[in-house]
């Protein structure tokens, strides 16, 4: 059993199905532009990449530069997602809402606070996290996989990192979470988690891996 004095949540892919939805839209957009992609292919090749690396990886795969239309439509997709919301990972909202009010909790994500706060509002979780919503782009100099964002979040919660639990789904996030010295629960509950996701997390050294929030609840003895 894991004893948590605080819980720090990654966001995209842990609380929000944005990894799956984003890659589904990416696959559709690339297919529209003449470069046929399934959502599984997009998830396999592009998850975890951002900025110039993301663009360069796609261009390498399709063997051509991405047209301006790609960037315009990606921007539109992001604006629409923030306006209309994205569904939660199964069980995520219930799990957060069922946690004791006095248990310190935070979101620590590579996304912007604008994205995080917007979606927390859609999910009805704004009050659950209060001011403890932290962005690797805004609150620390070095984002994930450096452990700095988790250390910052734990510091803001006033809980030592070695008494904190971090819930992460990605390779980059779990690496940084392990490096912080916290107890890490690897979550393979999102639709984006293909076969082998739990094994990937274990191979990184994540001792506790859950495939649903019910399992997380059991690991934390909150059942």
């Amino acid at each position: 059993m894991i004893r948590a004095h605080a819980i720090i949540f990654d966001f995209d892919g842990v609380l929000l199905e944005s990894e799956f939805e984003g890659n589904k839209q990416l696959a559709e957009l690339l297919t529209d532009l003449g470069h046929r992609h399934s959502v599984e292919e997009a998830l396999s090749y592009y998850v975890g990449l951002a900025g110039p690396d993301f663009v360069a990886t796609i261009e390498r795969r399709i063997g051509a530069p991405l047209p301006a239309e790609f960037h315009e439509r990606r921007k539109e997709q992001s604006i629409r997602a923030l306006r209309e919301g994205v569904r939660a990972v199964a069980g995520a909202v219930d799990f957060v809402q069922s946690l004791p009010l006095e248990l310190p909790k935070a979101v620590a994500s590579s996304s912007s606070t604008r994205w995080l706060r917007g979606h927390l509002q859609h999910l009805g979780l704004t009050d659950a996290f209060g001011e403890h919503v932290y962005s690797g782009r805004e609150h620390v100099e070095r984002g994930k996989p450096a452990p700095d964002l988790y250390l910052h979040a734990a510091g803001q919660l006033g809980v030592p990192i070695d008494q904190s639990v971090i819930i992460e789904d990605s390779e980059v996030g779990a690496t940084g979470a392990l490096a912080s010295g916290a107890t890490v629960i690897g979550l393979a509950a999102g639709t984006h988690c293909l076969d082998g996701h739990a094994e990937m997390l274990r191979s990184l050294g994540v001792e506790h891996v859950a495939t649903s929030f019910d399992e997380v609840r059991r690991l934390l003895d909150l059942a």
Binding site: L49, P147, T175, G176, L178, A179, G181
Partner: protein, 219 residues
Amino acid sequence: MASAAERRQQILDNIARAAGLARRDPAEVRLIAVSKGRSVEEIEPLIDAGQQDFGESRVQEALAKWPQLQQRYPHLRLHGIGRLQSNKAGDAVELFDSIHSLDRSSLLDALVREAEKAQHFPSIYVQVNVGEEEQKGGCEIGEIGEIVAAVRSSPLPLAGLMAIPPLGVEASPYFALLAKLARRHDVSGLSIGMSGDYQAAVMLGATAVRVGTALFEDQ
């Protein structure tokens, strides 16, 4: 069974992938093949596959294998990665292009003396005992500043910091700690990560990974 070249390519691909995930340039990461305990016959296929950096722990063993290989392949770089006694400093500076285990001022003095004699100046990693283990080599965290400053004022180039985390526990917090210490002392090189954890090390800032088993044996 995979060939040495295939195993090496797999590791280079993994390094590139881990670097990409951390938004790093894979070219910043040097793969050092740890060849201690390996014969010349095991080493040569890796050289043929393009491997240029090799690491040896013991001076005696390296002396038996490398002078001939270095003559035949003058572009190779040999790294001394094991604990080093001062009385081996002469052989070490002649053999190695880089020494990863400087952990005390007296050893630096011996290396400088011998380097000036040989007119060969290997670059130096300061080894840090990040896990504060009694039996482990490496200087204490509190000594880094002094030793780094001593290397900087010596004729030996400072390559970075090196650490071997404690066995049997998660290595990542120690990698992150060493990266933080390197930033604090304005040092850019980080020699961390071995066969089991080099991908995490790359994500956390390694500029040199020391891989033996995964290069020489099928996993």
